[in-house]
């Protein structure tokens, strides 16, 4: 049952993930479009960090705090978009699995000087089938790579949008989100048309 929609006093909550390598501008993008608040989780509570964290010598530090960028945008009176900027390293997959469940889509933020940093994010969303786009953060307007070059380098499917953005700019970051939602609409339309013909 879809409680959220049946109870009109509860707004519909939609998740959008903002992923990418360290220092690529995730925090900047989330804070450009929403009121950002710190949100953290403790790795030890998930036990996922146990194999990867070498705690020898620092045995007293038994937990690692993982900070996320958490932003909230009210769109209209009954829909709220939640943005989660998540660390892009492999060891944080446990966090991603939790956040990506039921997510509307994802923004993979890329820096052309370190394009390889976003490979894990691209792989992850491709594997999960989460709709995503790649937004190239153009610091100081410097890295005006042709989007086609980025697309080739990341070996993206032709329908995955690649856009240029300035994560510091509210309008530009807003446009990234709009493009993502439009991309989700395209995917929904593509997958639903045959199904709706069959079942209704």
């Amino acid at each position: 049952m879809d409680y959220a929609r049946s109870d009109r006093t509860v707004p519909l909550a939609l998740k959008i993930l903002v992923a990418g390598g360290f220092g690529v501008g995730k925090t900047t993008l989330v804070s450009a479009v929403s009121e950002i608040r710190p949100l953290h989780t403790e790795e030890v509570l998930t036990s996922a960090g146990l194999d990867t964290d070498d705690t020898s010598g620092v045995e007293q530090k038994t937990t690692t705090t993982v900070a996320m960028d958490f932003g909230r945008i009210s769109v209209g009176s009954d829909i709220v978009l939640y943005l989660f900027g998540t660390p892009g390293q492999d060891r944080f997959w446990f966090l991603w699995d939790e956040l990506a469940h039921g997510a509307l889509g994802a923004v993979v933020l890329a820096d052309t000087r370190r394009l390889a940093d976003c490979f894990p994010s691209v792989d992850y969303f491709e594997r999960r089938g989460t709709p995503f786009l790649v937004a190239v953060n153009c610091f100081d307007g410097e890295q005006r790579f042709a989007t086609q070059a980025v697309r080739n380098a990341l070996d993206l499917d032709p329908d995955v949008p690649v856009v240029l953005c300035d994560a510091r700019d509210r309008r530009s970051s807003k446009d990234v989100l709009i493009t993502l939602v439009e991309h989700v609409m395209d995917q929904v339309a593509r997958t639903q048309t045959p199904a709706s013909v069959r079942s209704w």
């Binding site: 049952m1 879809d2 409680y3 959220a4 929609r5 109870d7 006093t9 509860v10 519909l12 909550a13 939609l14 998740k15 479009v33 608040r37 710190p38 949100l39 953290h40 989780t41 403790e42 030890v44 509570l45 998930t46 036990s47 530090k61 038994t62 937990t63 705090t65 958490f70 909230r72 945008i73 009210s74 769109v75 209209g76 829909i79 709220v80 978009l81 939640y82 989660f84 939790e98 956040l99 469940h101 039921g102 997510a103 509307l104 807003k174 989100l177 709009i178 939602v181 439009e182 989700v184 609409m185 929904v188 339309a189």
Partner: protein, 125 residues
Amino acid sequence: MTSNERAAAWWDRDAGPVVRPYAMTGGRVPAAARFDVVATVRAAPLGGALPPDLQPEHRQILAAARSPITVADLAAELDLALGVVQVLLHDLAVQELICLHEPGRASAVPDENVLKAVVNGLRAL
């Protein structure tokens, strides 16, 4: 921040919480079926007094959830780790002190009208 202030505040967020998360949860970790971070929580209408064995954090959650609030908003508002909030919510759910509205599968991929509303809402920001 001056160096004096910095020295005085050495136990800031980077130092980790003063009360470790496992202390708040009694060493328990979230169950396999964790609450979605955007699941909505609401305190159940209370028949009588609250059970006496609730921790302060349980009470904080109930107070914050008097009107519907998401799991992520709760964690941010109460400055508790997500995993901690999920364990505490589980306690409250077992005692039927909260109602949970998990976003259903249907709302994971909302219909076209919702998506259009999102696009229009974003444009209007």
